[in-house]
């Protein structure tokens, strides 16, 4: 069975600093990989996705993620965070894109 690990429950970053959120997955082949963001009380917004091809994926809001097959990782990065980036971030994997397994999430706090 596939699984997703987000080892950081909570991360605090200063505004303007760089950000990296970790995601490791377990699956026999390369699954579809996603990062979603959730603001309090809201649904999930897709930041970016990886299906195949270039392992560095660009998303919305200045986010990017890099797929590393050898490490079974799909870490999310942003060079300079903004206060509006404070939210919960979820990594997800799936054999097909509609049946996703999510990680437990990383809560991002931004300090001035």
């Amino acid at each position: 069975a596939q699984s997703v690990t987000q080892p950081d429950i909570h991360i605090t970053v200063s505004e303007g600093a760089s950000l990296e959120l970790r995601c490791n997955y377990s699956y026999g082949a390369t699954p579809y990989l996603f990062w979603y963001v959730q603001s309090p009380g809201q649904g999930l917004q897709l930041l970016l996705k990886y299906f195949s091809g270039d392992t560095l994926v660009q998303g919305i809001k200045g986010f990017e993620a890099e797929f590393k097959r050898s490490q079974s990782s799909f870490n999310l990065r942003k060079p300079s965070v903004h206060w509006s980036d404070a939210a919960e971030y979820f990594c997800a994997v799936g054999v097909v894109s509609e049946k996703l397994t999510f990680g437990t999430g990383t809560r991002l706090t931004i300090i001035p």
């Binding site: 979603y36 009380g41 809201q42 649904g43 894109s97 509609e98 049946k99 999510f102």
Partner: protein, 111 residues
């Protein structure tokens, strides 16, 4: 274009009752998936429907059921509610084999 819509926004039920949650997908999307998100956790897959047929089911008891209508909207039904069913229920739609887009969710509280 309207995104995925869900109703109601909030719902309070008591143990043993039944609940029906509704989802309208993005226009043109034929696939609808349902997820349960318990507070402090990531969403957990419940069902996927495509062209009115069940295409997948997660590890949930038979108290949970769903269906998809000819207009591709969907209902999630939960019978004999338990306290542990309290959660945010998310609906997502896609064209089929493509990226899912999520609705705002229905917050269910079971007392």
């Amino acid at each position: 274009d309207a995104g995925v819509t869900q109703s109601p926004t909030h719902l309070i039920k008591t143990r043993g009752q039944h609940v029906t949650l509704r989802c309208s997908p993005i226009s043109g999307h034929k696939s609808v998936s349902w997820y349960q998100q318990v507070l402090g956790q990531g969403p957990q897959f419940i069902f996927q429907y495509y062209e009115k047929e069940e295409r997948g089911r997660g590890n949930f008891p038979d108290r949970f059921s769903a269906r998809q209508f000819p207009n591709y909207s969907s209902e999630l039904n939960v019978n004999a509610l338990l306290l542990g069913d309290s959660a945010l229920y998310l609906c997502a739609s896609s064209l089929g084999g493509d990226t899912q887009y999520f609705g705002p969710g229905t917050r269910l509280t079971v007392l």
